[in-house]
């Protein structure tokens, strides 16, 4: 293990190096570029024995790694924002083909207006495409997710592609201390790549085929089952990870002071750190505040969310996303989960951080005050006076 002062992108590149994919293919887009630049350097210097394929678009990047995955090797690609949307056709393709591809997405706003800074509208717009979606909180978690994502995705009972999300700039470009594991540890953790749906010269396969009305449902239900089984895979993988690397993770969510909380803020990604500080501070002033961080959006932590908020008086979902014409996507998912658990409490949706705007400590404190007053509805931070 080496203690290093590195950015989120660099930490992630180390995670990928340790997983040793046979084929890496990517197209550059800010703020993803550094992860592929570092990997290109590692390939050029012979640090990893991977083929780095320079494609002419994100669509080709994912199409290429689907082909390589079908050929039977571990793969990696990375993108962001417009690039994720440009490759969108290939996302359900990879999931439907049950190819355990790993992709890093540097979360970034979606045009128009053009904006290179971080929000979650890119990845959350692709929530339904059949990929596992995890959201890192810091560089260390990004690195660890890079390793764990392969272990989870490649399990035969899961066989589902995995998208690891890092907040653009806040995580991708911010430097912090992270433990970089040794290759020997990574090799003990991650078994050699092996999947069923590969090209085979002894028993030739027809892959990525059509399935008409009689058969389609069976394939789609199987895809859903694979993604649902990743719930257990996440827990088991984190136990295996902890045994080798010593760091513990807490499954699909991470609770902070939720057990007796009356007011729970639910969020995801890098903003969680500041939210935790605010919760600590509010606790000191006597408010029973809590924070629930969603580490995964797919599979959605239905039971975890319901259990965490079961005793709360009200909740607020703070997210960097809006599903225009309704509410934030995270909020919609949370509400569906607790509704099915029979929990009926005021729920508010705070939309912030769009296009990289800072979410301040005051904004988060205000959210708790709103919860205490039982406020509901969708509110854009800083746009409270907007007449809709």
């Amino acid at each position: 293990m080496t203690r290093s002062f590195i950015s989120g992108n660099e930490a992630f590149a180390h995670g990928i190096r340790l997983a040793s994919p046979g084929v890496i293919s990517a197209y550059p887009i800010t703020p993803q570029t550094i992860v592929v630049e570092r990997l290109s350097e590692m390939v050029a210097d012979g640090v990893i024995d991977s083929d780095f394929i320079h494609v002419e678009s994100e669509h080709s990047a994912l199409s290429c790694v689907i082909g390589a995955s079908a050929a039977g090797v571990r793969t990696f690609t990375a993108t962001s924002s417009q690039g994720l949307l440009y490759m969108a056709e290939c996302l359900p393709y990879a999931a439907g083909g049950r190819f355990p591809i790993v992709m890093m997405n540097a979360n970034r706003s979606v045009a128009l207006p053009w904006n290179i800074y971080g929000d979650h509208r890119d990845s959350l717009s692709q929530l339904d495409c059949g990929w596992i979606q995890a959201y890192a909180q810091n560089a260390q978690e990004g690195l660890d997710l890079a390793l764990m994502s392969y272990r989870i995705a490649e399990r035969p009972d899961v066989s589902t592609p995995f998208m690891v999300n890092l907040d653009g700039f806040h995580l991708t470009h911010t430097y912090e201390m992270a433990d970089v594991p040794e290759k020997e540890q990574a090799d003990r953790f991650l078994p050699p790549y092996s999947t069923q749906n590969t090209i085979d010269f002894d028993t030739p396969r027809n892959l990525c085929f059509s399935a008409g009305p009689d058969h389609n449902t069976a394939f789609k239900a199987g895809e859903h089952a694979g993604l649902m089984r990743s719930r257990r895979a996440v827990i088991e993988t984190e136990e295996e990870f902890s045994a080798i690397f010593g760091r513990k993770y807490t499954g699909l969510t991470e609770e902070y002071m939720c057990s007796d909380a009356e007011f729970i803020l639910i969020t995801l990604g890098s903003i969680s750190g500041l939210c935790r500080d605010v919760v600590s501070s509010l606790r000191k002033s006597g408010m029973k505040a809590g924070l629930l961080r969603l580490r995964y959006m797919r599979p959605f932590p239905v039971e975890e969310v319901s259990a965490a908020v079961a005793g709360a008086r009200s909740i607020c979902v703070l997210e960097k996303d809006i599903s225009f014409g309704f509410a934030g996507t995270v909020f919609i998912n949370v509400c569906a989960a607790i509704q099915n658990a029979g929990i009926c409490i005021p729920a508010m949706n705070l939309i912030g951080g769009l296009g990289g705007r800072d979410i301040t400590e005051e904004n988060i404190r205000a959210a708790f005050q709103d919860m205490a007053s039982g406020k509901t509805g969708v509110v854009f931070i800083g746009m409270e006076d907007l007449k809709i």
Partner: protein, 298 residues
């Protein structure tokens, strides 16, 4: 190795049991290429006629490894397959793509250009039936001048396709590709020889094979081969090769006078008037002036 011909080619079949239309030229192009390439060919086919007729679970029609790519992603998926097989230590395999004219010259041209630029070791075959036939005959950029399609109807104001066929062969060659060729399912020995040659050249290869579609062209199913030959014989579809910076004809125009019969015999051209045909002839003649001046004779 002996030059493959219709007489000595293997009786093994790699593409059968599919539901292509009677007289389908595209399925013949796929079938004959796989006979040349053999069981270690891995075929990648985008959305289009051949994937639509050959991959309907549980009726899967390829005896070798084969997969459907996205419509735009034939060449990039081929690249991934090739790199993946190499990474897992396989040897003596051929990655071959079969994409239609729309999948090649329209939606797939970007990925194809990228693959040629990388000079990946694989064979891309465009089976050209001159329109989007799988979706019911819509214009592609390889639809010839004058042709009726459902999106270039023979109207009162505009009569059929007003654009020329895109010159994919020379577009591909302009990348400096190691080997490119035009071929026809009407001259199957020439086509198979080019597939064989492509399999022996290292780097990226492109073969553009004319593959008439009786359904879309308005000819009888037993006329597919005849019309494929006529296209070459009348000078509209020259058979040629490109390599080492040089173009070479592999078959000369037989009879310029055949053009009228070629056009008049197909329902997709029945609205054309004599001046339209004269225009097609003049374009052909201009092209042959260029060919005769700068391409090597057979």
């Amino acid at each position: 190795m002996t030059r493959p011909t219709a007489r000595n080619i293997t009786e093994d079949e790699y593409f059968f049991g599919h539901k292509a239309c009677a007289g389908c030229g595209g399925s013949l192009a796929v079938r004959m290429a796989l006979k040349v390439l053999g069981s270690r060919a891995v075929a990648v086919l985008p959305a289009g006629c051949m994937s639509a007729v050959g991959f309907n679970f549980p009726q899967l029609c390829f005896a070798n490894n084969a997969m459907i790519s996205t419509f735009a992603g034939t060449a990039s998926m081929m690249t991934g397959v090739e790199a993946g097989l190499r990474a897992r230590g396989e040897k003596d395999y051929q990655v071959v793509g079969f994409a239609g004219d729309g999948g090649t010259a329209d939606i797939g041209i970007q990925a194809l250009s990228g693959a040629i630029d990388r000079n990946d070791n694989m064979i891309y075959i465009c089976y050209d039936n001159e329109a989007y036939m799988n979706t019911g005959t819509q214009k592609s950029s390889l639809t010839p001048f004058g042709a009726y399609t459902t999106t270039t109807p023979a109207g009162v104001k505009i009569r059929g396709n007003i654009r020329e066929k895109k010159n994919m062969f020379e577009i591909v060659a302009a990348h400096g590709i190691p080997y490119a060729a035009t071929a026809s399912i009407g001259y199957v020995d020439d086509y198979m020889a080019k597939v064989r040659k492509a399999s022996e050249v290292k780097g990226m290869k492109y073969i553009h094979v004319l593959a008439p579609c009786p359904t879309g062209w308005g000819i009888r199913p037993d006329e597919t081969v005849e019309y494929a030959r006529m296209a070459t014989d009348c000078g509209l579809w020259p058979l040629a090769e490109y390599g080492c910076g040089e173009y070479s004809l592999t078959r000369s125009m037989k009879d310029p006078g055949l053009l009228r019969a070629y056009i008049r015999g197909q329902k997709r051209f029945r609205h054309l008037r004599d001046p339209d045909i004269e225009y097609i002839e003049s374009k052909r003649d201009a092209r042959w002036e260029h060919i005769n001046r700068s391409w090597k004779a057979p």
